[in-house]
Each structure stands twice: as C-alpha cells, then as structure tokens.
C-alpha cells in the first residue's frame, strides 16, 4: 500500500535522525543528517537552529528533511527558505532529500510542496537531489514547482510521487546534463 520508506543510507552515508538522544558532535561528514519534527513535536525552526548549533554545517555532506510539521499539514516553503538562507555555511553539501516522509506520517500525495528551484540555485555543489511528494495538487494550495535552472554539479534528480505537475516534467531536460530522472508512483 505504501512502497515509500525512509532510506537507511543516503548518498552512501548512514542516515542519523535528529533530534537524537546521543551526543552527535564531531563527525559532520560521516553521516547523512535527517531532521524530523514529528518525533519530539518540535517546530522546524527550533530543530534547524539545534542542528546548526550541534553539527558543523561546513562538514555536512548529506541532509534529509523529514516531517517538518509537528502534526498538522504545513507548506514546505519556509523550510526551503531556511535552507537557502544558511546555504553559505554548508560549503560541502552534496546531497539533499526534501520530504523524507512516509504514509504512516502523512498522506504523501498531500505533502504541501513548493518551488524547489532555490535549493538548486543556492547549493552549487549539490550532486544528488531527491524530492518526495507533490502528486495531488489542490487549487489555492502550494504545489511542487521547478523553474528552468542550470546546475554544474547535479548528477541525480529524483522525484518520488504519485504523479508530477506537468510543468515540472516539462522544465527538466534530462538530455542537458549527465542526470537521472526517476518518478516513482505511490
């Protein structure tokens, strides 16, 4: 019924979820950091601040955004804004997963996505971008968007959803770069 799941490994690194009971200081580049607001019901801005205070952003290579709302559905746009505003501190970020959320946490096709172009513009070293959700657009609500963009490092762009808005598929030209394009249906 739901074939999507939380990856245990992302960009070749084991995934470690924050908030976490253990001391996680030190090896910023040895794991893929996953932020999850649902577990301890912390607001995303607080968790983001905790992440920046705990982990050296300059060493982080892979980042996953888990459930970013405590319980109710909320749009992804403020999360993207926070990521982009701190982009200059993430000088080695190679992989980003937006919305690592599964059906037990939220109906994936209802995830309130947004324009994800700013992350490609803000992280020039990004080699891998995965985006889950955005299958079922609702009038007057935010949906997944991707504007035409040139990127020098991206090798893998992966969308996982129950369908993609037509303009996202139109704008992505897989011939233009050395890239993979995968859409996984729910």
């Amino acid at each position: 019924m739901n074939s999507v799941e939380h990856p245990e490994v992302f960009h070749g690194l084991p995934v470690l979820t924050l908030p976490c009971a253990e001391d996680v200081g030190g090896s910023a580049g040895s794991v893929a950091w996953r932020l999850d607001c649902g577990q301890e019901e912390v607001p995303f801005p607080d968790l983001w601040r905790h992440f920046l205070d705990t982990v050296d952003p300059a060493g982080a290579r892979a980042l996953l955004i888990g459930p970013w709302r405590e319980d109710d559905y909320s749009v992804l746009a403020p999360v993207v804004e926070l990521l982009v505003s701190a982009a200059d501190r993430f000088t080695d970020l190679r992989a980003l997963f937006l919305a690592d959320v599964v059906g037990e946490e939220c109906e994936v096709s209802w995830l309130a996505m947004c324009d994800i172009t700013p992350v490609l513009e803000a992280f020039p070293l990004l080699e891998e971008l995965t985006v889950r959700g955005g299958g079922e657009g609702v009038p007057d609500e935010a949906t997944l968007e991707l504007r035409p963009v040139r990127h020098g490092a991206l090798k893998s762009l992966r969308f996982e959803s129950g369908g993609l808005p037509g303009h996202v598929a139109d704008y992505w030209d897989p011939e233009g770069e050395e890239s993979r394009y995968v859409a996984v249906s729910e």
Partner: protein, 381 residues
C-alpha cells in the same frame, strides 16, 4: 482460604468453546505441568444458564470467539462477516461473564479474570481512560473514559478531529476486536479525506469485515461507514506514526502474565493495520530490540510500559498489550490491551522473563502454581 493451606495442586476449569484451539493449547500446558486436565465449561452452557463450577476450582475465562452458535447468540446476527452488532455483543458477553463469576463464587471457585476488568478491556473508551489514569502512555483521545460524549456519526468525528487538532485518527468500534470496523482516517482541509479500512459496505448499506484492506478517498464513502458504525459506539485516538521494519509499519504484541512481560512478537504490515489476517506478518524481534537500543531507548523500558498497562488490571492474570513504537523506535504508546491476547502458539518466553521455554499458556499455568505455592508458604509461616 481453604485452598491456600491445602497442599493439593490447583484444579483448573476453562470457560471456552470446546474443541477450540485456545482450549486445546491451554490443556496442553496443564498436561505438561503434570496436572489433571482442565474441566471445560462451554460458553454455550454459560449462555443457557447451565454453567456449573466446583468448589476450589481455578477458573480461566477464554474467548467466546470462533464458534458460530455462540457468536449468533452474542451478536444476534446470522452472518458472521457482519461488523454491526458489537454493542449487543458487548452487553451479552459481559452479562455472561458476570454469570460465570456469580456461579463460580457460589460454588467456591476462583476466577483468573475479573468481570470488571473484562468489561473495561472490551470497551476501548473505558480501557483508554483506565490506562491514562494509571500513567500509561496512550495516544491522545477525545473519547477516553466513561464521561466522554458519544460519537453519533461522521459529523461528530470530524468535529472531534478539528477540535483536538488531530488530522489523523483511528476510528474504532468501542467493542470491536481483530481490527473489525477500524478505519485509519486522515483529513486535510475541507473535503480532503482518506481512510484505510477492511470494512466493506454492500449495496444495502450493510457492513462486512473483509480480508482486503482498501482505501477510501471520498468523504461520502467514509461518512457512510462511520455513520453505520456509530450506533455500536465509537472510540477515536490519534494515529501515531508507527516505526517501520524493512519498510513495513511495525508494532508489538506483548503478553503480560501476572505482572511480567513474558512474550513478545513484532507485527509488520504495509497498511496501518498489522493484524495477521489483514496481510500483517511477524517481524524480527531481535531487529526491533536493536532498533530501540540504536535510537537511544531501552528495551526494558518498553517492556515496563506493557507491565504498567498490565498492572492497571490487577485482577486479571494475563493480558495482551499492543505496544506502538513511534517512528524511529524511540517512544512507545499502548494502543490496546486485550483480555484474550495470548494466542501466540509455540512462542516461548523472553530471556529473563521467567517464562523461557514456556509458551503463553504454560507461563500462565506456572504463574498460578507459583501463586498457590506462595500462598502455602504464607499460610504455613
């Protein structure tokens, strides 16, 4: 008191359906303990007012399920697949259990399951209230306890979800079992409703349990089922995202015997319901323990939650606790406590539980022998 100074071993009677596997497994455990076979008192006799107990008997009350005639008498419905009728089932069943207790007390037999506990365990609203009052972590519920307002239909469900800030809930018939009539409901804004359920509504509006879990995507479909379920009583609780094992949602069934968590299995599923008949499968217990430890949690603390849930029913020898691990295996909540949750054939006890090498039935027989032994020591000292 005569039993406690008497050195004779306990003589068991079991109230159940003769020939049922539960009764058979209990008899095997009794035999393995070197005791004379338990005397079987059939639910049919109980319901016909013909149940008899003998002085000094230790009486185990087991499930009335899996017998067509008993089911018909309790539910008042001919078709065993029908979902409706659980309120009537509850009224008749709890009345039958009180009859068992009355007959047992009258002849000096001792019950292993208190009628008051059974009445709470078969009402999810009351059970939730008792667990919450005992400090057991439970999913938030707007229908907890005896004072909660009745849920009269889908409009009430939506209202309670909105008021409670709960966009995702389980809607359960208050007296249901085995996921019968359960819906996992998710809402987002006006008109957006999804539900996952094994309930099937036929052309005449009657509800049936099916073996297929399906998705409902229109509010009308969900409302029709909830409205048909509501007269039997509904319980709502927040749908906590469950931890996963190999991509499947996971929970645990933990059996608590005489206050100790003795047996545990992991159940996994691709749907929000983990019941085996709905496509659930046994998961890997060692993996679950490892996941709890890796998440910085403690397996002992998880079992302690179950024991605390068992302690809320001190007059009942054995309960089956459904333990819900949150995503990430860090936190636990108790989903349900089952009076007849010990049907885990051939599963042996957890290391350090005192029930190593014993199945759930043998563990209960051992607990009774242990109690009797303690009584004798207390009486002779």
């Amino acid at each position: 008191m005569s039993r406690s100074v008497n050195s004779a071993p306990p003589r068991f009677a079991v109230v159940g359906n003769p020939g049922n596997r539960r009764v058979g497994l209990f008899q095997e455990a009794v035999r393995a303990a070197g005791l004379p076979p338990a005397r079987v008192v059939s639910w049919l006799d109980v319901l016909n007012g013909a149940a008899v107990f003998l002085p000094g008997e230790t009486v185990r009350v087991d499930s009335p399920g899996e017998d067509a005639e008993v089911e018909r008498l309790l539910r008042g419905v001919e078709d065993p697949t029908r979902v409706e009728g659980s309120a009537r089932w509850y009224a008749r069943f709890t009345s039958a259990v009180r009859e068992v207790a009355r007959a047992a007390a009258g002849s000096g037999a001792v019950l292993l399951d208190a009628p008051g506990d059974i009445a709470v365990l078969f009402d999810k609203r009351l059970c939730h209230g008792v667990l919450a009052a005992a400090g057991v972590p439970v999913p938030a519920s707007p229908t907890s306890g005896p004072a909660a307002p009745p849920v009269r239909g889908w409009a009430d469900v939506r209202g309670l979800m909105a008021d409670g800030g709960m966009p995702r809930v389980f809607v359960k018939p208050a007296h249901g079992s085995s996921a019968s009539g359960v819906l996992a409901v998710e809402t987002a804004g006006p008109g957006r409703v999804r539900a996952t359920t094994s309930v099937e509504r036929d052309g005449a509006g009657r509800l049936h349990n099916s073996l297929r879990v399906r998705r409902l995507t229109t509010e009308g479909e969900v409302a029709a089922i909830v409205d048909a379920l509501a007269p039997d009583g509904l319980h709502l609780e927040r749908w906590l995202p469950k931890a996963s094992q190999r991509g499947r949602a996971a929970d645990l069934r933990v059996v608590v015997v005489d206050g100790r968590a003795t047996h545990a299995v992991v159940r996994t599923s691709r749907s929000p319901m983990t019941n085996l008949h709905l496509g659930g499968a046994r998961g890997d217990l060692d993996e679950a323990r490892a996941a709890v430890t890796a998440a910085g949690g403690s397996w002992g603390a998880a079992l302690a939650v179950c024991e605390r849930a068992g302690d809320a029913f001190p007059d009942t020898l054995c309960v089956g606790v459904d333990l819900l691990p949150s995503t990430g295996w860090r936190r636990f909540a108790v989903g349900e406590v089952n009076a007849f949750g010990d049907l885990l054939p051939r599963l042996t006890g957890l290391p350090g539980s005192g029930a190593e090498g014993l199945d759930t039935y043998a563990a209960q027989v051992a607990a009774v022998l242990n109690r009797a032994g303690n009584h004798r020591v207390a009486a002779s000292s």
